[in-house]
């Protein structure tokens, strides 16, 4: 990849001059060392200046600077639509700058489906401010009042004549403050927002011209691989090196070992040599038997010492439960699940002398910069982190771990190092979505009104310390037991959509430092487990009350937005009312249908699943899933429908197939054979449904129908068989055992 695309050398004002082209994922090419040197410390862009957000170029194109990264969800296109709408330019005139600590405003991590919901209003306001300033200048130039001006395609028109944005400002700074007070376009005037414009990245992705992280190179770079035990052990135990046999890779003369503490890697000029060397290098690790093994996991969590907190306490649950016509109680189990990006994490770093450049696929360039600076012993201002898209990550996968590994290796060898995690590194050393145990009791009266809901949830929290850092510097690890990053029973998702006078939610925080796997946020964190328990419980009450499960839910919902998604999905699925399990088939393969509601924080999700169950083999096949999402104003309906399809497929995969297996010493799910995900032939037909009540602001659209889809499959299983599955994934073994 020899390219002279040394954009990094340009001062910011010239950055990506001549926009209009697709910029996200542009070629990093070969960057000359001189251009990488820091002339001076890069200043953090000041979010209070319009110039930190938007640049207007001489050729009448514009560049927008976002702090949110494209993870494959289409959010860059949506943000560009918002900016183009407010600026009155065409989408083809606007491009997004690569997210880079050198010039991107810090909008926080790209998590919780927050790009459009939270970053959207910010960039809209910035664009409005930019437009206001451009109109002020145009009015001056044309000698006409601002009120008489109109703008199309970045050209300001008046009776006196016209002038383009490029002529007004071409590559000069705005020099105006971002006050947030500039008037914004009313929604009734939107022409780009709400339209199905093609995503800006898709053509290049299909043509094969897109530059992924995995394509990035630097001159003189070495290929690096990490060397770790196959599959992590207990979090915090690290991977202690007892012995290293350097002769074991002597037959690969070009490869060399890099080591810092317990961090071991190999580097070589040729990638295949690095792969072979990592494979050949004999390391003796200490392998403590501190894990429970997957089979005993939930018992261990249930009997461990926990830190308990009351999340919701309303009314008198105990009394209501003892006096109600219908009571359902059960305990439900969810496994550890992996992010398992299709392409394992990759990063490229050059840490030479007193500065470092790290190119990677992090969800938060600023937080990672801090970590890298601390591990390399450099001031933060000497570390530059650039984002380049890799394979979709669905949360905190190994991208930061790989970035730190590349930085550490590069500093040790004094050359640029590209680290590509192998499949087993990514699956074996992931920050898994934590396992969960939920005990639930709920009651309804004889009219089918929910009168009580009690939920106890056991799980550990998130541990964001990266393995490379831990191994290299021996820093003691921690768990986010409280505050941001901790996990507590989600009160929105556990029955929050229903009205009940008595509700009690208790969180039992298990200590993640006592023999568990490393955990972090995985798309719609823990919601699949919550909904698997609570939505099956709602179905159970409907069954006892002899009500159709949709009718039961309607009787207990007051919020019109929850009703809206329920009605929409039921209509799309042509749902006919009947009690669950009242039409069970007799053959070997029987069918069932189920409904469920769910969300993450905001937005409203509902799903109907139609499945087949093979009673002999135990195989469940999801045939068709209808999934409705109300996420307020939709900027790009096509992109959001794509998200619904993706999260529904993933829900199917996770509820039917995915489980991280582990022994007493280590994780054993290390490839697509031992960590199976939903395959092409197994995918359900999916009908995505958008529900948009008027005048509602945009809210998250990347994960909010996932939990509903998973729970709808579980409810469909009961409808088909009359049996409840209390543990997922709902594998053939578990199905056969339940039906035996």
């Amino acid at each position: 990849m020899k390219s002279s695309n040394s954009t990094m050398a340009f001062p910011r004002r010239d950055f990506l001059k001549g926009g209009g082209a697709l910029v996200i994922g542009f070629s990093l090419g070969a960057v000359t060392p001189a251009s990488r040197a820091f002339a001076q410390a890069p200043a953090l862009p000041d979010p209070k200046l319009v110039d930190s957000w938007i640049a207007i170029h001489r050729d009448n194109t514009a560049t927008a600077f976002f702090g949110k990264v494209e993870l494959g969800q289409g959010s860059t296109t949506a943000l560009l639509q918002i900016v183009a709408e407010e600026l009155d330019v065409e989408l083809s005139q606007l491009s997004a700058a690569q997210v880079d600590t050198k010039h991107s405003p810090n909008q926080g991590a790209t998590v919780s489906s927050s790009s459009v919901e939270r970053a959207g209003p910010q960039v809209r306001a910035a664009a409005a401010e930019a437009r206001q300033e451009l109109l002020r200048r145009a009015a001056q130039k044309l000698g006409t009042p601002v009120e008489s001006l109109t703008v199309m395609q970045g050209i300001v028109h008046s009776k006196e004549g016209s002038v383009s944005y490029g002529e007004l400002l071409g590559d000069q700074p705005f020099n105006v403050n971002f006050t947030g007070t500039a008037p914004q376009k009313p929604a009734s005037k939107y022409r780009l927002i709400g339209s199905r414009v093609p995503r800006v990245d898709i053509s290049a992705k299909v043509a094969g011209t897109y530059d992924y992280m995995q394509h990035a190179t630097l001159p003189g770079m070495l290929h690096g691989r990490v060397v770790r035990p196959r599959g992590q052990g207990a979090y915090g135990a690290g991977a202690e090196v007892l012995g290293l046999d350097e002769t074991s890779m002597k037959h690969i003369p070009d490869a060399r070992i890099v080591r810092k503490g317990d961090f071991i890697g190999v580097v070589a000029p040729r990638q295949w040599d690095a792969v072979r060397a990592a494979e050949a290098l004999k390391v003796t690790w200490r392998t403590p038997t501190t894990l429970s093994g997957d089979a005993a996991l939930h018992e261990k969590m249930r009997s461990s010492k926990t830190t308990d907190s009351v999340i919701v306490e309303e009314g008198d649950v105990g009394k209501a439960l003892s006096q109600s016509a219908h009571v359902v109680s059960a305990s439900y189990r969810g496994p550890y699940q992996a992010h398992a990006p299709f392409g394992p994490s990759c990063a490229l770093a050059e840490a030479a002398g007193d500065s470092a450049l790290v190119i990677c696929s992090t969800q938060d360039v600023y937080a990672l910069r801090e970590r890298i600076a601390s591990v390399l012993g450099l001031p933060e201002t000497r570390v530059r982190v650039q984002y380049v898209e890799g394979a979709g990550c669905f949360g905190h996968s190994c991208y930061d771990d790989a970035a730190l590994a590349a930085a550490i290796m590069s500093q040790l060898v004094g050359k640029p190092v590209r680290v590509q995690f192998m499949r087993w590194d990514e699956l074996g050393w992931d920050n898994y979505g934590p396992a969960h145990l939920g005990e639930i009791r709920a009651a309804a009266d004889s009219e089918g009104k929910l009168v009580a809901l009690e939920y106890h949830g056991w799980h550990h929290g998130w541990m964001i310390d990266e393995t490379s850092e831990q191994l290299a510097v021996g820093k003691p690890v921690k768990e986010f037991a409280t505050g941001a990053g901790s996990l507590i029973v989600n009160k929105v998702n556990v029955g929050g959509m229903y009205v009940t006078p008595n509700r009690r939610l208790i969180n039992h925080a298990v200590s993640g430092l006592e023999g568990y796997l490393k955990g972090a946020n995985l798309r719609s964190p823990l919601d699949l487990s919550y909904s698997f328990a609570s939505e099956q419980t709602m179905d159970g009450l409907a069954y006892l009350a002899e009500l159709d499960p949709v009718e039961f839910r309607r009787r207990n919902i007051r919020d019109p937005r929850w009703l809206g998604v329920l009605d929409a999905v039921v209509e799309a699925a042509k749902w006919t009312p009947r009690r669950a399990a009242s039409a069970r088939g007799q053959g070997a393969v029987i069918t069932g249908r189920g409904v469920a509601l769910g969300t993450h924080r905001v937005s409203f999700g509902a799903a109907v699943a139609e499945i087949e169950v093979n009673r002999k083999t135990g195989l469940i096949v999801a045939k068709h899933i209808y999934a409705a999402l109300d996420c307020g104003l939709v900027v790009n309906p096509g992109a959001v429908e794509s998200q619904i399809i993706g999260m529904t497929t993933q829900a199917t995969s996770r509820v039917l197939k995915e489980e991280v297996r582990f022994s007493a010493t280590n994780v054993t799910s290390l490839d697509w054979g031992s960590y199976p995900v939903l395959r092409f032939a197994e995918h359900p037909n999916i009908t995505p449904i958008l529900v948009q009540p008027p005048n509602t602001p945009s809210s998250g659209a990347g994960e909010e129908a996932l939990a509903a889809a998973g729970a709808a499959i579980a409810n469909a299983f009961f409808d088909a068989t009359g049996v409840r599955l209390k543990q997922y994934p709902m594998t053939p073994d578990r199905v056969r055992a339940a039906l035996a």
Binding site: S203, K205, Q271, A340
Partner: protein
């Protein structure tokens, strides 16, 4: 060693046991096939070898000498030759269909999806849904875009057979 990639004979210096994938990526700077598992389990590294889809991550480069390798980059020309078109289109019809459906999310798996779908349509111009599902079953998509891929392949099949009539 000389290998034929996209109708060009290229001299490569890798050791004969090197997987074709690393030669394509690192020596020939070809971006289509890319690393996903290295275990022939996912389809990320797929290329055509004499028109048949193979996994370049486990195929030693020495095994392809004397054969012709087509990557994503060479697919439109391969298609033009196959259909005896007077000019090489910018995209294979299946690529156009993936764009029309706005199918990809991260798009990382689409090298394999395009290669496999092109192979399928070349052997079976009008596949049934079941045939598509079974042909594509060795290609994973973690973003879960299977439904749009299925629709796009059906669309490409219609476009291609319609165009030939």
């Amino acid at each position: 060693m000389k290998i034929n990639v996209n109708n060009e004979v290229r001299e490569v210096s890798a050791s004969p046991d090197t997987p074709l994938l690393y030669v394509l990526s690192d020596e020939l700077h070809i971006k289509g096939p890319r690393f996903g598992c290295g275990l022939a389990q996912c389809g990320s590294c797929s290329v055509l070898l004499d028109g048949e889809e193979i996994r370049s991550c486990i195929t030693p480069v020495s095994a392809v000498t004397g054969h012709s390798v087509t990557t994503l980059e060479g697919l439109p020309a391969f298609y033009a030759a196959e259909k005896k078109l007077p000019t090489v289109p910018a995209l294979h019809p299946v690529q156009q269909a993936f764009i029309d459906e706005q199918a990809p999310q991260c798009g990382y798996c689409y090298n394999g999806m395009v290669i496999k779908a092109a192979e399928l349509l070349s052997h079976t111009p009008q596949p049934s849904e079941a045939e598509i599902r079974s042909a594509m079953n060795g290609h994973l998509c973690r973003c879960g875009t299977y439904p749009r891929i299925l629709k796009a392949i059906e669309g490409a099949s219609r476009a291609m057979t319609g165009a030939l009539k």
